[in-house]
Symmetry: C2
Subunit: 135 residues, 2 copies
């Protein structure tokens, strides 16, 4: 079974984040690696949480928001119906935000496509002129 533990350097290299950042994320409650003495040992669960965190960070969520999102996903005690309903609400909330970001991306990609098309058209015109003049 995959129960390997990783050093901070290994995790650092794998995810391309500095050890400082990893300790900072721990400080903010995003991850909580075990310790052998004082040395941090990252489990696969820690790595999963980190992966989720980095996704959130890339999407512009604050570390605080990332912690919220990760906590939702992490196999926590499901609790009672009240807790579960709250969880569902939060999920819907975050989903709405994600869908908004998605629309932002689609809009930007659209504009980008138009600009590129105009750009390529310009290039073609220039190229045509050069050929005419060159010949």
């Amino acid at each position: 079974m995959p129960d390997h533990r990783y050093s901070i350097q290994e995790v650092s290299r794998e995810f391309d984040v500095t050890p400082r950042a990893l300790r900072f994320y721990e400080d903010k409650g995003l991850i909580a690696p075990a310790r052998r003495g004082t040395t941090r040992l990252y489990s696969d669960r820690d790595r999963t949480r980190l992966r989720l965190a980095l996704r959130g960070i890339r999407l512009g969520f604050s570390l605080e928001e990332c912690r919220e999102i990760i906590d939702l996903y992490d196999p926590q005690q499901p609790g009672g119906a009240r807790q579960l309903l709250r969880l569902c609400d939060k999920i819907r909330e975050h989903r709405a935000e994600l869908l908004h970001k998605l629309r932002d991306i689609e809009a930007t990609l659209g504009t980008m496509g138009e600009v590129e098309a105009r750009c390529l058209a310009e290039l073609l015109k220039i190229d045509a002129n050069v050929r005419k003049a060159g010949h």
Copy 2:
């Protein structure tokens, strides 16, 4: 023709950003409203640039990156073939980043769906138990 000019307050309310933020964005070169005396007058072009900027900001781009992106889209002088090629390159660059963010969103939405499904299943189980006990 729509050639209306907007005050900083109007723009502030329309886009739900503070005047301070608008001046800050101007400082960073994101927008450059005209002046009547010392008073800023925002044109439709300014509002378009602002709209693009806010999209970028929501997606986690820095103001500096937003400026780059906006400048690509804004009707600037197309310049020569060299400029146009550079423009196309930058577009491809930004598109790659956007597509990465898009994958991040899809992955997150996926995980979110799973968690929600598990959550709803739990709720159903609880509900079933309650009905049995209640009857």
